[in-house]
């Protein structure tokens, strides 16, 4: 049998990798991919807690379903902003989006 700790440690490692990707990459699309990894780590945690602690109630699964919808919304808005930025400035690097820099 797989103990709960394996899932939690896997999710923590995946979250760390995603956080590094979101913070360190210069490209906005790559940063968004890091955020996707972080959201996946959270979904694993939610489903693992549902399965191990309270499989009789649906709270964990409903949370995970809501998280999927939020992840889809986040990606759609993020990529739309990237396309809009690319049309305006011909760049996908957030550091070059400096219209509002004083």
């Amino acid at each position: 049998m797989i103990p709960l700790s394996w899932y939690l440690l896997f999710a923590a490692a995946l979250f760390g990798i995603g956080l590094y990707g979101a913070l360190a990459r210069r490209n906005a699309v790559a940063a968004l991919m890091g955020v996707e990894l972080m959201l996946n780590a959270v979904a694993i945690n939610l489903l693992a807690f549902w399965r191990y602690l309270d499989p009789g109630r649906m709270n964990g699964q409903v949370f995970a379903a809501v998280l999927f919808a939020v992840a889809a919304a986040e990606t759609a808005v993020g990529l739309a902003l990237i396309i809009s930025l690319y049309r305006l400035r011909r760049t996908v690097l957030p550091e070059e989006a400096d219209l509002m820099r004083g």
Partner: protein, 174 residues
Amino acid sequence: MTADQILFLVFAILGLGLAAASVALRNLVRAAFALIGCLFAVAALYALLEASLFVVAQAAVYVGAIAVLIVLVVMLTRRELREKATQTHRYAPLAAVLAALITAGLAAGLSRFASFARTMPALPPDDMVIRLGDALVDPSGFLIPFEAVSVMLLSVLIGAVFVAGGTRPGRGKG
């Protein structure tokens, strides 16, 4: 070591390796495909958790929609990718330290959790997908959060179309 433990380790190592590849690879198209592989490995872990609906949802929503969207945007903005240029900015070591610290903190905090080493209890005998569907449309269950998320997703997608399509070159900058 039992069969499910071996399966878990295979998919966990695969998932972490592909996740590391997707944040480390210079070529964004390759990074996007590594992300797709990682999402499939996570779907396999959902299968080991017996969350059958989420295996399908992961394949359909993440791999089918989000990953395709990412690949599409990578292709659309390909001229600007500049593979020769460095892909991380100058604070990347700081980001690595921060990510390692947060991972270690999460692991340390979770290992003090009382149910940390708990093994998997038996599922109730009835069908979990049916119970999830019932819970989502039950007014005393999760009907209102479900509807709120539906409205949010619809409005966000309409907004995304507006943002992405609102600045056509022929109409000037808008």
